[in-house]
């Protein structure tokens, strides 16, 4: 039986949970990010936040206000523009490899960590196939490493086509106000009439 852990006080998820977040409202997005950080810290986990500088500048003062200095040491920030190669190409294998490298020291020291990644890329590029490959690899990594991970995408910038693809590689889907299990995950839950 899969080991379950609490995502929030109401929801238990398996230890490795890959959550896909489609956001529309920036305020709700920040609120959800802060709630995720708070839940993680309350369970003694470290947080890796891969976020763009504009949003993180808005989040930082709120982190300072809500969490103690000791807790803040457990929050690690990475600029998502450089992480995803925003100004260059979206190199799937490099990104996943880099992700593994960043997490290595935490695993080495047996530190539990949760990740939050705001995925962004150059808007002019059609990177749907790269994203699909990236998320499939990421899902394997997340499951392999026993990670709790949120991948956030701006819902108005993404096509329904890409969304459907992503829903196959994430077990949970979140919006600004809802959290559900993806019925397309691994394509295993076909409907029987």
């Amino acid at each position: 039986m899969k080991k379950m852990i609490s995502l929030t006080k109401y929801v238990d998820v398996p230890n490795a949970a890959h959550i896909l977040y489609f956001f529309e409202n920036n305020n709700n997005y920040i609120e959800n990010l802060l709630a995720y950080i708070k839940d993680g810290l309350e369970r003694g986990h470290h947080l890796l936040i891969i976020e763009n500088p504009t949003i993180y500048t808005m989040v930082e003062p709120l982190i300072g206000k809500q969490f103690s200095n000791e807790q803040q040491k457990c929050i690690h920030y990475i600029d998502n523009y450089s992480f995803y190669g925003y100004y260059g190409d979206f190199h799937v294998h490099n990104i996943v490899e880099n992700f593994g490298e960043i997490l290595k020291p935490f695993f080495k020291d047996e530190i539990s960590i949760r990740t939050w990644a705001h995925v962004e890329w150059k808007k002019l590029d059609d990177i749907s196939s790269e994203l699909e490959e990236f998320e499939n690899l990421a899902d394997c990594s997340v499951n392999g490493m026993g990670l709790m991970s949120v991948c956030a995408y701006a819902a108005t910038d993404l096509s329904a086509s890409l969304q459907t693809t992503l829903m196959r590689s994430h077990e949970y889907v979140m919006t600004d106000t809802e959290l559900v299990r993806s019925s397309l995950y691994r394509n295993t839950k076909g409907l029987t009439p």
Binding site: Y10, D39, T156, S161, M174, L179, V180, S183
Partner: protein
């Protein structure tokens, strides 16, 4: 083109052409021409052959469309679904036009098998293409009696409400216990076709007793994820080119749990 898949089905059952033909109530010469691809069987013959060899008769019609990349296994699930249900509301976001076309054909053929009346609301060129393929499967009178095509271009400039009241509802549905409607690429709001039709039919007790299967389809690359989520909240079932599943965001479902997002849970 030779139907090697059909020959393989027959050989896997250790049957001769004569035996299959006799069981399917046709003569051997005719059956042989079906195998060699010289003849296309009509629907009843296709069903009979499929029964003898134990496969989905829609396989005969999939080949018309020459879809090299089409996933027949998954399609079988969708065709099974269309053949099993009489009512429901499905949101279909498609990636492949060919798959979309294939699924409309499956929807219509399975509707005909179930003696449902089918309405297709689409662009003229799509309606023509559908009619062309259907013409190889059904007779003209079967198409006329069971399927009605609405050309969306003809209806431009009319209010949706008027079109539903004056055109769609004038159709003779009385003889049919079930009705199927496929609507392509229409804006989704309170005054769109399907919403207006649903309002009419749920208010009309007589028609309410009928089973209605609705499908609304969209090209997945032309709508945003945000719009898709909004629509998933209103449709119990979600369809892709490969499968039909429960819509995870459907508000009134008793099958899936919709939890509040993280910050809302925190504030509870």
């Amino acid at each position: 083109m030779k139907r090697t898949w059909l020959i393989q089905f027959r050989k896997s059952k250790n049957l001769t052409q004569e035996q299959v033909a006799t069981s399917a109530f046709i003569d051997r010469g005719y059956y042989s021409q079906v195998e060699t691809g010289k003849r296309n069987p009509g629907l009843n013959i296709a069903i009979n052959i499929a029964k003898v060899l134990d496969f989905d008769p829609l396989m005969f019609y999939q080949e018309h469309l020459d879809h090299t990349s089409f996933d027949k296994v998954s399609d079988y699930k969708i065709s099974e679904y269309f053949r099993s249900v009489d009512s429901g509301e499905i949101l279909y976001v498609y990636n492949s036009l060919e798959s979309h076309f294939q699924h409309v054909i499956t929807f219509l053929i399975s509707g005909f098998e179930k003696k449902s009346y089918c309405l297709i609301i689409d662009h003229q060129k799509n309606c023509y293409q559908l009619q062309e393929v259907l013409g190889t499967i059904l007779t003209d009178s079967e198409i006329l009696n069971y399927i009605h095509f609405f050309n969306k271009e003809d209806l431009k400039g009319f209010d949706n409400r008027d079109v539903v009241n004056n055109l769609v509802l004038q159709n003779q549905f009385d003889h049919f216990n079930s009705i199927r409607i496929w609507l392509s690429e229409e804006p989704n709001d309170q005054n769109d076709w399907l919403s207006l039709l649903e309002k009419h039919w749920t208010m009309d007790i007589k028609l309410h007793e009928k089973n209605i299967l609705f499908i609304r389809s969209y090209n997945a690359s032309l709508i945003s994820a945000a719009m898709h989520i909004k629509m998933m909240r209103n449709y119990p079932h979600l369809m892709t080119d490969l499968e039909i599943v429960d819509s995870p965001f459907y508000k009134f479902s008793n099958k899936s749990f919709i939890f509040p997002s993280l910050f809302i849970q925190k504030n509870m």
